[in-house]
């Protein structure tokens, strides 16, 4: 089955400072029908223009730490900032509230990005870095045309103390096939119950397509990750999530999976009215939310625990040793779901680092890695 890759971009607005960049060359070659316009500065606009891609010269930091909170356990993820916005238009997406730049935007100064990616892990060689590009956009949404992974994936293969996670809801993976990933990239999918995918993520790839793409990546030697986030409490959720889990279990070999994360839907209170006006058919904001200790709305504790417990119980039957973690949850919820708090295991970042060492063999000495590979 050949995945469908819909062309999302019709017009490209490029800042002159990055007009010669590899990303722009790739776009020109791979989007022959798109119109290209060059400007000194892409104006800030509050109007969303479908089909427009802005390529700007980004002057900020490409490598950032995920802004966690003290109260809810953060995974210590590192963000590689490649661009902003997304055209998949999930009903719950936080990016809807970023009114200042509503259009798809990528950073054209790829050399600066790659230089920073190389420099940061090198500055702390003892530390293991788990980095990902899917924080402010979907990692692979534009990748078939920008070719960014063709730079990032081989680069991470050369960094001994870092792994790259490409997080997506698309099936845009064909361009990953021939890349030298060195076992240091994991491709991960955000998964959900099929009902939720259909109602809240209608423009993203259907569940089957995501799982098929995951199979292909596994066949090419990539490691995999899955994120059930945001989990939604809706009538029939137990069956819905169970079905998705069983589809996942049927599709991939658990030994390729580095982690599965679980996160119940949470949102800044301001997002509610935006969701209601932009997606009037969506019911997701009518759940039983309370204001969390970080100011975000989150499901009442018992509902979160019920959602997570079902998932953990099912996943354990598939692979008891697989790292399953909760995204931005309090230790009191961890305790009820897993029977322990992350601090008892050195903290969540340490648990995930361990998963990288155990499953990917990254972040252990080269001798140990050789032995592991020989044994594997």
């Amino acid at each position: 089955m050949n995945p469908r890759v819909k062309k999302i971009v019709k017009n490209v607005l490029v800042e002159r400072a990055v007009s010669e960049s590899p990303v722009v060359s790739a776009l020109r070659e791979r989007l022959p029908d798109a119109s290209f316009n060059f400007v000194d500065k892409v104006p800030e606009s509050s109007r969303k223009i479908p089909g427009l891609l802005e390529v700007v010269h980004f002057k900020g930091r490409f490598w950032r730490s995920c802004p966690g909170t003290k109260i809810y356990e953060c995974c210590g993820y590192q963000i590689v900032h490649i661009g902003t916005q997304c055209s998949l238009d999930c009903t719950y997406c936080i990016l809807q509230s970023y009114f200042e730049s509503p259009n798809l935007r990528i950073f054209g100064n790829t050399e600066d990005l790659l230089a920073e990616v190389q420099a940061v892990p090198r500055s702390s060689p003892q530390k293991l870095f788990r980095a990902g590009t899917g924080e402010f956009t979907d990692s692979l949404l534009l990748d078939p045309w920008t070719g960014l992974s063709e730079h990032l994936v081989p680069l991470f293969a050369r960094i001994p103390n870092a792994v790259l996670e490409l997080k997506t809801k698309t099936d845009h993976v064909t361009q990953l096939e021939k890349l030298n990933h060195g076992g240091q990239t994991l491709v991960s999918w955000s998964l959900n119950a099929d009902d939720v995918i259909r109602s809240e993520e209608p423009r993203s790839a259907p569940l089957k397509a995501r799982l098929r793409a995951a199979q292909r990546c596994a066949d090419w030697g990539y490691f995999l990750g899955f994120h059930f986030d945001p989990m939604i409490d809706y009538p029939g959720w137990r069956e819905g999530y169970r079905r998705t889990l069983h589809a996942l279990f049927d599709a991939v070999d658990p030994s390729r999976v580095v982690w599965i994360s679980l996160g119940a839907f949470r949102f800044m209170p301001e997002l509610k009215s935006i969701i209601q006006s932009r997606h009037p058919q969506s019911r997701i904001v009518t759940g039983e939310f309370i204001r969390g200790l970080d100011g975000k709305m989150r499901y009442f504790r018992d509902i979160r625990v019920a959602l997570y417990t079902l998932m953990v119980d099912e996943i354990r039957t598939w692979d008891p040793s697989l790292t399953v973690y909760l995204c931005m949850e309090g230790p009191w919820v961890w305790k009820r779901v897993f029977g322990f708090e992350p601090s008892e295991r050195g903290g969540l970042p340490a648990m995930l680092d361990q998963a990288v060492r155990d499953r990917m063999g990254v972040g252990i000495s080269s001798r140990a890695r050789g032995a592991k590979n020989a044994a594997g």
Partner: protein, 340 residues
């Protein structure tokens, strides 16, 4: 435009059905009526001779309707026939805007009438601020639709029973839903913040359960409260608030009620109160001790120590640890109104 002249106008020659310049207030002006009874008309009403011998009221509707049964003519400021009625309406609206505190119904009317006379820019920049209308960009069209509400709805606005924010939130609703909610507010007469709380929750429940607000408010449990003659308004408001909360947050309501029951079963002395984390978010509980003297404190602390080892105390934590019954969805089963 020619200035008006003070002239005697026969009330029989007034076209009483012409409401082209009317801005209804939807509430009787008791103070004005008393003043008219005491001293009669002080300032001449304004009229327009719309065609020879036929007059339309421009300003002074209430005063003239009072006078109608008492006199056959009035001294009025009269605009001549050739006057442009749009210009006249404009003067009328401007006078109204700057003359006194307007009720919400009047504001809505003025905005709607002005829409045809000026640009949207002028409405936003000048008229809305003069009417003290916040965020005109978002609310202008809502205000205009409020002006088209039926008189019975506008009279609730005019009587200050509906807060501005509530009116704007109700504006996009279908008329029957709005009617049902306005009837509820008319019965409860609650504060602006409570109005919004009830409205938001009712809208959420209706959306969640795929029913109308009207059907929700028509549920027998709700109607029983509203019809209960033994409850005063305050008690009805509390009962309605409680039931709406229960419908909106069934899992939370059930859990917190059970927890409260478990805490009550502890029978703590009145000097002590045990507070779970709000909505059980977090794991820090509080024990509050009230005392006047060191010996009172010591006695309470001794009691608190005994409570810590009581089985009822452990029962609270057991209750707290119980999850959502696995046979249902995490959300509660179908609420009573949905089955109706």
């Amino acid at each position: 435009m020619a200035p008006p002249l003070l002239k005697e106008v026969s009330l029989a020659a007034v076209d009483w059905d012409d409401e082209g310049f009317a801005i209804p207030a939807y509430v009787p002006d008791e103070a004005l009526l008393k003043s008219l009874e005491a001293v009669g008309i002080l300032h001449p009403p304004v009229m327009w001779e719309k065609k020879a011998g036929l007059f339309a009221v421009v300003d002074g509707f209430k005063r003239l309707s009072w006078l109608r049964s008492r006199s056959s003519s009035v001294q009025a400021l009269l605009f001549p026939e050739e006057t442009d009625p749009r210009a006249l309406l404009r003067i009328r609206l401007e006078t109204k805007i700057f003359s006194r505190q307007l009720n919400l119904a009047e504001k809505a009317h003025i905005l709607a009438r002005y829409t045809a006379l000026t640009s949207e820019e002028d409405l936003r920049r000048r008229i809305c601020p003069a009417l003290r209308i916040a965020s005109p960009t978002e609310s202008l069209s809502l205000w205009q639709s409020i002006a088209a509400w039926p008189a019975r709805h506008l009279s609730l606005l005019a009587r200050d029973l509906i807060a501005e924010k509530t009116a704007l939130a109700l504006a996009p609703l279908p008329e029957k839903d709005r009617e049902a909610f306005l009837n509820l507010l008319g019965a409860l007469r609650c504060s602006a913040s409570l109005q919004m709380e009830l409205l938001e929750r009712c809208l959420d429940i209706a959306r969640r359960d795929g029913i109308t607000v009207r059907a929700l408010l028509g549920a027998s449990e709700m109607q029983t409260i509203l019809r209960d003659e033994n409850l005063n308004r305050r008690e009805k408001t509390a009962a309605v608030r409680d039931i709406v909360y229960r419908w909106r947050f069934p899992t939370i309501h059930t859990k917190m009620a059970k927890l409260e029951g478990a805490v009550e079963a502890l029978k703590m002395p009145s000097a002590l109160s045990l507070l779970p984390p709000p909505f059980l978010e977090g794991n820090v509980w509080e024990l509050r001790v009230r005392f006047r003297t060191p010996s009172e404190l010591a006695a309470s602390l001794t009691k608190a120590e005994q409570i810590c080892t009581a089985t009822q105390f452990q029962a609270i934590f057991d209750e707290c640890a119980k999850g959502v019954p696995s046979k249902t969805t995490a959300t509660a089963s179908v609420p009573p109104h949905a089955a109706a």
